[in-house]
């Protein structure tokens, strides 16, 4: 059943249709958020938040663009808001005495039980890539993730980020240049 039809059912309060939609998109959405924020636990919460918005906005949903474009636009807004909020929290934390707490944004690769060497190496490489991605400016990062992992067109990315196609092109050129510098050591 197409996404648009599921949305019509969801608008009528059909929870089963909602479950199908969630199960269809949860992995891609979760990974989009995870790659953007680099925090596994927070990504689960925010992915749920995105679906919650889908549920609430189902009645007003109009299939003007592809469903995934609409879904990713919600996700991009939530991710960008989350970054703003976490920056605000960090600023507030500056005035608190308790500095023992982790600043967030770190992921939990190191929390697992001992794994085989190759798995550890892969995870370490993954951690370094995540960290390189995190160092990109927000819009460059989001554009790059949407292109690299979700294979969206420039037009779709422009719609999600609410900018022009040429702006997306220039975001991607700069993002790739930046990553080229940061990931040099991984290729060698």
């Amino acid at each position: 059943m197409p996404n648009e039809e599921l949305m019509v059912r969801i608008a009528k309060g059909d929870e089963y249709a909602f479950q199908i939609l969630v199960e269809r998109h949860q992995t891609s959405l979760l990974n989009l958020i995870y790659r953007f924020l680099g925090d596994r636990t927070k990504s689960q919460d925010l992915a749920q938040e995105v679906f919650l918005r889908v549920w609430q906005a189902a009645r007003s949903y109009e299939p003007k663009a592809k469903f995934t474009t609409w879904l990713y636009r919600i996700a991009a807004n939530i991710c960008l808001n989350e970054l703003k909020a976490s920056r605000r929290k960090k600023w507030l934390r500056f005035f608190h005495v308790d500095r023992g707490e982790q600043a967030g944004g770190e992921d939990d690769f190191s929390n697992g039980s001992p794994s085989p060497e190759d798995l550890l190496l892969a995870r370490e490489r993954s951690r370094q890539i995540t960290s390189a991605l995190q160092s990109l400016p927000e819009n460059q990062r989001m554009a790059l993730i949407l292109k690299r992992y979700d294979d969206l067109s420039y037009g779709e990315i422009a719609h999600i980020l609410n900018c022009s196609v040429s702006a997306v092109e220039s975001l991607l050129v700069r993002a790739k240049k930046n990553l080229q510098e940061k990931l040099k050591f991984l290729k060698s």
Partner: protein
Amino acid sequence: MKCRSVQKKLSAYQDGELKPLEQEEVNRHLLSCRSCREEYEQLEGVWQTLGRLEEIRPDPWFYGQLARKIKEPLEHGLSPAIQRVFQTFGGPAIASIILVIGLVAGSYLGSNLARRDLFPSQSIPVSYSQSAFFASMSVFDPAPPGTFAEGYLRMAGYKENESR
């Protein structure tokens, strides 16, 4: 096509976003130009490296938690937007609201009680110059007219008179 213009288009070429004619031109240039080809290979290298990023899976209870959340707003009576505002600004927001309400209510009560003529029968007719003189002297009162203290004292006095 010159190297400079090719290098500007390499990213879009890699993403397959050029028009077919441009795509073909860049393609031809890359076959003949070693330095641009190296530049493109570096871009491809980054793209391949990014592909090694691991994929995560949703928690097994992902939908269960979500299903509970979609019923929450009804149970709590607050919309998620309002809940988010409270979660983000919580304490400071409530404290500011209480402070503002306190200030508004205080100034309203103060000025209203002070200006209200609670004892119309006690007012003595005086000339304009006399009343201006009395008014100017009132700044030396412990509770000058128009203040909350004066309003309170007048109200307390009024109640005392009433009880007699």
